[in-house]
Amino acid sequence: MIYLQLFLSYLKIGFFGFGGGYAMISLISNEIVTQRGWLSEAQFTDIVAVSQMTPGPIAINCATYVGYTVTGSVWGSLLATIACCLPPMTIMLALTVFYRKVKNNRYMRGALVWMRPVLVGMIAAAAIMFVNTETFFHWTSVAICLASFWAVWKKVNPIYVMFAAAGAGILLYGVIL
């Protein structure tokens, strides 16, 4: 049963995964944390951090991880990954075949333009969801957050920023404090 639920959940995530990785975080957390209760918020934050540091699209990383954690088996992991890829693959394949017809369709473009504010709201919700006392438990957490924001704003590669933050974490909370 859990396999079927997992498959359906990821099918849904794949089908509505507009706007790339960050917007999908809201969608995934709503489905996995809020609706299904398969992971806690802290667990989910950690998964997001890990999938940012490993290669590949974050949605697929996340599907692999959640599939494994929820079922405790490699098959659950594989199932979630496949379910997550299936809808975008099908849609993109169909659109590639009919490419010339949809390219300049103004209704499609209009729909996409007005989906954009929704995506911004979703990304903001993803950021705010992680703002809690577990994430910001010390004033240095706020400092790490602001420094990360500033660095990425200044076009530093996010990977370096994340490794620096992990290093700062080990130094601050493992050694000094």
């Binding site: 974050i58 692999t64 992991s77 209009g110 007005w114 979703m122 790490i144 957050c145 996010p158 974490g169």
Partner: protein
């Protein structure tokens, strides 16, 4: 058959070695497909890429689909996607298996304490970048979505459907809507 494995291998490399957000991989794919193999004209590739961004799903996956399909039909698309997913899946699976065991380790947990606020900062960047480009109505809509997700737990799926429907309706009312960027 050789072409299928070549597609698999190109996207395998992309899946295995490109870290970070999707936008980082665009120049890598363009280099492989346009500059080295000359499979696409640059304009054509960028056009198709815009389409790949507007459909759901990670856009490296969507790019794999259109490049693979153009080269070798359905199986081309299949092999390209498989190439992208296999390394991503394998690496993440290993991480998942080990992380559940070492999550309580003192050093790992300290590292995560540093990473969590960093993730907040990271996500806030594209959000602010997109926000400054919007008009007042779009901002109102963005904040409404934010409030709904945070306070009601309503699935964002309905809001996406609403946004798309609104766009189509506006296109029917206003003849210029959807033509401008």
């Amino acid at each position: 058959m050789r072409l299928l494995w070549e597609l698999f291998w190109i996207f395998f490399k992309i899946g295995a070695f490109t870290l970070g957000s999707g936008y980082a991989i665009v120049p890598v794919i363009e280099h492989e497909i346009v500059d080295r193999r000359k499979w696409f004209e640059r304009e054509d590739f960028r056009d198709q890429f815009t389409l790949a961004q507007s459909v759901p799903g990670p856009f490296s996956l969507n790019t794999a689909v259109f490049v693979g399909y153009r080269m070798k039909g359905f199986w081309g698309a299949f092999f390209a996607v498989a190439g992208l997913v296999v390394p991503t899946f394998s690496i993440m699976l290993v991480v998942a298996i080990f992380l559940t065991g070492i999550r309580d380790n003192e050093i790992v947990s300290a590292a995560f304490k540093g990473l969590r606020p960093c993730v907040v900062g990271l996500i806030a960047v594209p959000c602010v970048q997109m926000l400054v480009k919007m008009n007042v109505w779009q901002m109102v809509m963005g904040f409404a979505v934010l409030a709904l997700i945070c306070f009601t737990g309503l699935s964002p799926v309905y809001m996406l459907i609403f946004g798309a429907a609104l766009g189509v309706v506006l296109c029917c009312i206003n003849k210029t809507e959807g033509l401008k960027r």
